[in-house]
Subunit: 281 residues, 2 copies
C-alpha cells in the first residue's frame, strides 16, 4: 500500500502542473479561434494544415480511442466539472489544452447547443492499413458524393455492417468537414479509407477486386442475385446524377436495387445502405 | 377547326376571369399569412384546422396528383411566369388562389431558397383504403418516432420499396409537419396510413396480422431468417429508446438486424430501411 502512495502523490502533483498549463483564452482575436473557425469552414484550409476540428463529447472520445493525434483540446469553462474525466483523459495526450469563456466557445462551435468540447485533430494515415486488406476485403467506393450528411450516414452504415474500407474520389465533399465527422458518429476515425483522383483509376489498378457499379437501370443485375465474394468493391455515385459513365465503363458489372414501389424515390444514403447491407449480410 | 375555336375563346376568357381572382396580398397582418405561419409551426393547430401547408413545386404537384383537397394556393409574384403551367393546373382545383409579394412570401416560407409556391391542403382520409388491405398487406408501424426527418425518410423508403400501409402511434411526431412532408418526397400524399392511440391496440385488434417487434437484441430472430408472409406488420421504435416493452410484449416475434460491425451505431432511418427492405425484397 505504501508503495502505491508515491506514484499517487506524483500523479496529483503532475495533474496540478497540467492544470496550470490549460491556457485560458478570452479574446476573439486569438489565433486559435481564427484557426478553428477556418478549419470548420474551409476544406482547402483543412488540407493545407492537415488538421480538422471535431466537436462534441462522444466524437472527442472517439478521436481519443482511435489513437488520432490531438493537437489542441478546447474546453468551455462551464463544463470543466461536468466532463472532468473526459477532459483529463484527452488532456493527457493533447499537445496543448485551452479553456475558453462561454462567449468565445460559441464563436468556434458549429452546433446550436454546444457540449463545450472541441478537439483539433491530425488525421491518421490509413494507407498502409488499406493496402494490407486489398486481397481480402469488401469495399465501397464513393464517386462524387456531394452532401456531407449523406457521406456521414454512408460511412456510419459502412462501419456498422462491417465494410472493410472506403475509397473516395477526390471530387467528393471533404471527409473531415464538420457535418461528415458528426454524421459518421466517429466512423471517420476508425474506417480505413483512401482518396483517389478518380474511382476508375482505383478499379484499373486493382483488377483482382471485382467491381460493381450501382445504377438505376432495370436491365442491370439485381443486388439480390449477387454473391459479393471477397475481394469486391461497390461504387456508389452522385446523389443527383448517379455514376459517371467513365466509372461504369471500367466496372466488371452493373448492379441495381430491384423494387416493387417507386424505386427512383429512395434517398441517396438509404439506397447506399440497402446496397451495403446486401454486400455483407 | 371552326368548332375548336369557340371552346378556345371560352378558355381564354375563363383564364382571364381566374387571373382576376388570384387575390394579391401584401400585408403581413393578413389572416392567411398568420394561418400558414401557424400551420408550419404547430401540430395542434394543424389538427384543429385539419389542414397543413406544403411548400415547393414538386410537393405541390404531388398534392395535386394525389387528389388531395387544396384549399389555398399561394404563389410568389416573381415565379408567375416561370411555373405558369403548374400554377394553372393547381389554380383550376384550388378553392382560392393568392399572389404574395416576395417579402411576404419569405414570411410563410420554411426554406432558405424558396421556390415560391405553397399549397394549404386538407389531408385525404385513408382509413377505408387501409381497412381494405388488412387481410393481404405488408405494413410498418412506427411507435413514438420523434424526429420529423427520420419519419419523412422512413415514409419515403416504405413507399419506394412497396410497403402497403403505415400505422402511426399518436405519440409520433406529426405526419403533416413541414419536415415530414418534405422529407417524404410526397409519400404522405400516397401512402395509406392510420393513427392509433397505441401500436399495441392495433396489434391486439388485428390478430390475423403477424406482428414483428424490431429490437437490438442478439437473441431475437434475425431478419434474414424470416419470410415476412402477408399479412404482416413490423414495428419500429423510438430513435433513442427503441420499442416500448408493452409493444414488444404483444408482438408475435422479436426480430433484429444481424451485424458484423458496430450494430448499435446504425441511424434510425437506415435501420428502418434495412428492415423494410428485408420485408419486401
Amino acid at each position: 500500500m505504501r508503495l502505491g502512495f508515491i506514484p499517487n502523490a506524483f500523479a496529483i502533483l503532475f495533474d496540478k502542473i497540467k492544470d496550470n498549463i490549460m491556457i485560458k483564452i478570452t479574446s476573439k482575436d486569438n489565433s486559435l479561434v481564427k484557426h478553428i473557425t477556418k478549419l470548420n469552414k474551409s476544406a482547402k484550409y483543412r488540407r493545407e494544415c492537415e488538421e480538422f476540428a471535431a466537436e462534441g463529447v462522444r466524437i472527442c472520445i472517439d478521436a481519443l480511442n482511435s489513437g488520432a493525434k490531438i493537437s489542441s483540446l478546447i474546453v468551455c469553462e462551464d463544463i470543466l466539472d461536468k466532463y472532468s474525466d473526459v477532459i483529463e483523459r484527452i488532456k493527457a495526450v493533447a499537445d496543448n489544452s485551452y479553456v475558453f469563456s462561454k462567449t468565445l466557445f460559441r464563436e468556434i462551435s458549429e452546433t446550436k447547443s454546444p457540449q463545450g468540447i472541441v478537439c483539433v485533430i491530425k488525421p491518421l494515415d490509413k494507407h498502409s492499413l488499406f493496402d494490407k486488406m486489398e486481397c481480402n476485403g469488401k469495399f465501397i467506393a464513393l464517386d462524387n458524393i456531394q452532401d456531407p450528411s449523406n457521406m456521414g450516414t454512408i460511412l456510419r452504415t459502412a462501419e456498422a455492417v462491417g465494410i472493410d474500407g472506403v475509397i473516395l474520389s477526390s471530387d467528393c465533399c471533404d471527409i473531415y468537414s464538420p457535418k461528415v465527422v458528426r454524421g459518421s458518429m466517429g466512423a471517420v476515425f476508425r474506417l480505413p479509407y483512401i482518396i483517389k483522383d478518380s474511382i476508375s483509376d482505383f478499379i484499373l489498378e486493382h483488377k483482382n477486386i471485382t467491381s460493381y457499379a450501382s445504377v438505376v437501370d432495370a436491365d442491370a443485375e439485381k443486388i439480390t442475385h449477387i454473391g459479393f465474394e471477397c475481394p469486391c468493391v461497390v461504387v456508389i455515385g452522385n446523389e443527383g446524377n448517379g455514376l459517371k459513365q467513365s466509372t461504369i465503363d471500367v466496372c466488371n458489372k452493373k448492379i441495381t436495387i430491384p423494387m416493387n414501389g417507386r424505386a427512383e424515390s429512395l434517398n441517396a444514403s438509404v439506397a447506399a445502405a440497402i446496397i451495403i447491407w446486401e454486400m455483407v449480410k
